[in-house]
Structures are given as C-alpha cells and as structure tokens.
Symmetry: C2
Subunit: 286 residues, 2 copies
Amino acid sequence: MPTLFRKSREMRNYSRLQKCEKRLTIGLVPTMGYLHDGHRRLIRESKMQNDLTVVSIYVNPLQFAEGEDYDRYPRDLQRDMSICEEEGVDVVFAPTDEDMYPEKPLVSIEINGLTDVLEGKFRPGHFSGVCTVVLKLFNIIQPDRAYFGEKDYQQLKVVERLVKDLSLNVDIVPVKTVRDLDGLALSSRNSYLSSEERESALSLYRSFLLAERLIKEGKKDASFIKQAIKEFLLSHDGVRKIDYVEITDENLRPLETVEESSRILLAVWVGNTRLIDNWRIGCEQV
Amino acid sequence: MPTLFRKSREMRNYSRLQKCEKRLTIGLVPTMGYLHDGHRRLIRESKMQNDLTVVSIYVNPLQFAEGEDYDRYPRDLQRDMSICEEEGVDVVFAPTDEDMYPEKPLVSIEINGLTDVLEGKFRPGHFSGVCTVVLKLFNIIQPDRAYFGEKDYQQLKVVERLVKDLSLNVDIVPVKTVRDLDGLALSSRNSYLSSEERESALSLYRSFLLAERLIKEGKKDASFIKQAIKEFLLSHDGVRKIDYVEITDENLRPLETVEESSRILLAVWVGNTRLIDNWRIGCEQV
C-alpha cells in the first residue's frame, strides 16, 4: 500500500526529506478522488518522469459554488488506495478539511481572461478555489512536476498561467483526455449518470466528430459550427441544457474562424449532471 | 560586498544549494531599495535569526497605480549595496523588470476584508501587486523567514494572511517601525519632502501623541479621537489632504470604542507626497 498522509505537516516533512536529503524528484497528481482510468494515465506519466509519485485526494469545498454537487460528489478512499497500490503510487495525501482549512480562507485569485470566461462564468468562484488549493498543494508537497488532464482544459490553462505569473518552480505536464471505447470522456461525475443518460452523454463526443466533418467539408465559420453542435446536442432527449459551446485558440480566446488546432469547449447538462468536454480540431484520435 | 544576483534563475539555484545541501537557513528582507535605518533594523533581525540574509531590491511596477510615483521613486543600487555590505548581508537580489515580468502578469490576488480597505481603497490594485511580487520572491528565494516593517502595517497583515491561506512554508516576522529622533517614521518617500514639508510631516507622529493623551484622559469614542486627529493634522499648512484616519483592531476591523492595543492608521498628503503611518495605542515608545 502507498503511504497515507492525512496531515500537511507530515506530507511537508516527507517531501523535504526526499527532495533535499535523498535528492529524489517528486511528481504530483492532484485529484478529488474516485479515481478512474484518466487518473491512472496521469499516474503512469508521473511514474515515468519522477522518482516518487504523490497522489493527492481532496474534494476541495472551495471550488464548489453554493448549490453544486459538493455533498454528493463520490468519495471512496479505500477503493482509491487500492488503485494507487496497483499503479505503484508512493504516497497518497488525503488531508482532512480541518487540516486544509483551519479557518475559511479570505484569499481570492483570478486570472484575467482565463478565470472569467467559460466555466468561470457559470461557476463563479470555482477557479479561485482551484487556484487556492493548487497553490496549497504545491506549497505543501513541493513537487518537481504536476500532472493535469486536458479533460479540464480551462483548469490546465489557469494553472499553467498561475505557475508562470507567480514564478512557481514546478513543471505543469498536460495529459490527454482518456475516453471510454464509445467516446465518453472519463470523469468521476459519470457515476451520476443512469444508463439512458449515459447514452445521451455520448452526444458530446459525437458533436466533436460532427464538427470535424463539417470543418473537413470546408465550413470554417465558428458561429456556424457552434450552432450545428448546439442543434445536434439538443436533438438528444437527455440533453436538458447547454451552458456554452465555444471555439477558441489555445489560450481560450474565442475565434470567428476555425483553424487547425482550434479547440471546441462545451458544458452540457444531461439530466441533473453537468458534463464538460473539449476537443482539439484535427489533432485528436476519433 | 554581498553577492549580487540580477536573475531569478541564479537566485533560485543559490537558495537550493544553501538550503538543501548546506542545510543553512535563509532570511529574506524584501525592499524597494533606497535603504534607510528601518531596513537596517530588518536586516539585523534577519541576521540574528538566520544563517544567511538575502535583501531583495525591486521597485515593483505592479503595485503602483496609474499616476502614482513609480517613475520618480528613488533608486540607488550602489548606495544600497554599500549599506548591505555594512550590515553584512550575504546576497542582494535585484532582478530586472524583464526577469520578473517577461510578460505582463494576468493574475490578481485579493484578500477579503484586508486588501479592500484603507490603502486598498485609495490605491486600487496595490495589494494585488504586492501579493504577486511577494509570492514570486518567496517562490524564487525560498526563505525560511521574511521580515516586514510595521510601518506598512496593512501590508504586513495582508502578507501574514496570504501565507496562512496558501500554506506557504515561511515565517513572517514583524519588525517595529523605526522613527527619526523627532518622530517621523522612516520611509524612502521622505526623500521627496522639502524641509518645510518635513516639518509638516511631523504632525502625523504628533497626532498619535495627541490621541494617546486624549485616550489617557478617558476619551474612548473612536469617532471623537479620529475627528481630533483630523483637525490637528489639517491645522498644519503643509498638510494638503487626508485620505483616511482609522482606528481598528489588529485585523484592521474598524472599532467604535478605542481599546488598549487598538491601532490608529492614517494616510496624509504633505504637498505632493503621500505619507502613511500607524500607531498601536498604549504600546509604543513616544
């Protein structure tokens, strides 16, 4: 079994010892637990590039807005520990709320043009909570590298910029989205879906394939592509609402004309489950 | 002479070597240069508590608002280096703008209830700039302790809270304000004052003595004390404008009734120079 730390002081001391005295490198895979094959991919990437791999498991209350799914977010530390053992993880850091937030933090962190768009518009305070917990984890664990899935593409961009703007000494390593054989992007939140809802949720992936086809046919107008995606999504009974469909450059700036390597990002409600996904045009395996 | 680093990469490597391999502790005195006896006090405190003392010298553009004194802020690296040599400083870190901000940072950092009051109201963006540069300096230099003067009391409180909220592994050490024999709090900005203006600037210190006397006489109503301070300040010809006079608890929450250990904070314009000062009631040497 991996070593389990519940206290940041223990984690901090461990990292200092390993990095400083034993001169080992540390890879961090920050998660909210309920691990799936997407997390396994992050862990494997970390194990290839570092001497030690730490998986943090913490459902961060700060990044959930009022009325979101914080309470029902799936949690199963025992199952997560088994997966980490299978993957050869060295340390699981699963701090208590009391340890992470002995007092309610007063800090708020925004990144102009990155935290105020897309997810940031629909989940006010979300990225401030993400930035806060990521900085805390980096400060406690002192990783050499940290692994983030492209599934949460906006989060990846936010963290990359945070690291640059604050001169943090950690390499952010992006890892491709892992999809089920039918194309559904892996997410702990998929556990909320009934089997009918899961069928509807495939429309997200399929809307990307539709967009690829339209673009290959020469349709380059972003509004046209976005409209086609929306209509396709809403043609599925289970798709209750679309928060956004956007096409951007790699820095999340909206485009009027689609280019090779533009990215489609979307957020969709299937029943009571909010799903996000994204797709780099012309570059992903279908 | 102290070792001078102009690049964060050099500074980072030095700190890693000293901390990790030589197991030495590092004290940081962050400054904007043009060092005076207040800075000397910070340096001496650091030298007593740490193996190595780093003084950073950087006029951080990010913490000046449009129209403030960024351009005319006094700079003299050679003089600063001499002072650091006299004080036995080990390293001066004086990065270039290009090194600190290769791109304009997009991050903004606020601390609810601390950055949006007093100085924060009159200098929008100031504390976000302070928090950004302080985090960068901490991430680059990795100090064990960092020294901040009580002269900038609100800044001290902001940095203390930032460290707590983000789980930074650095002790913030507050150091008492150093005053000239006539009571004027030392500040690099005092160099802006003509000799007549300097005389008017003494009213800040003297207004604290007035407040002490009133409180000793039993006046405990904060509004009354603040009004008396304002009238006293404005009775001086050179005092052109008062930005604020406030009486707070140690966490900058305004008080209606003055207590032992309450703090008076004020910002005043003497000619074209904006001065700030603060005073802990019943606890400071007059």
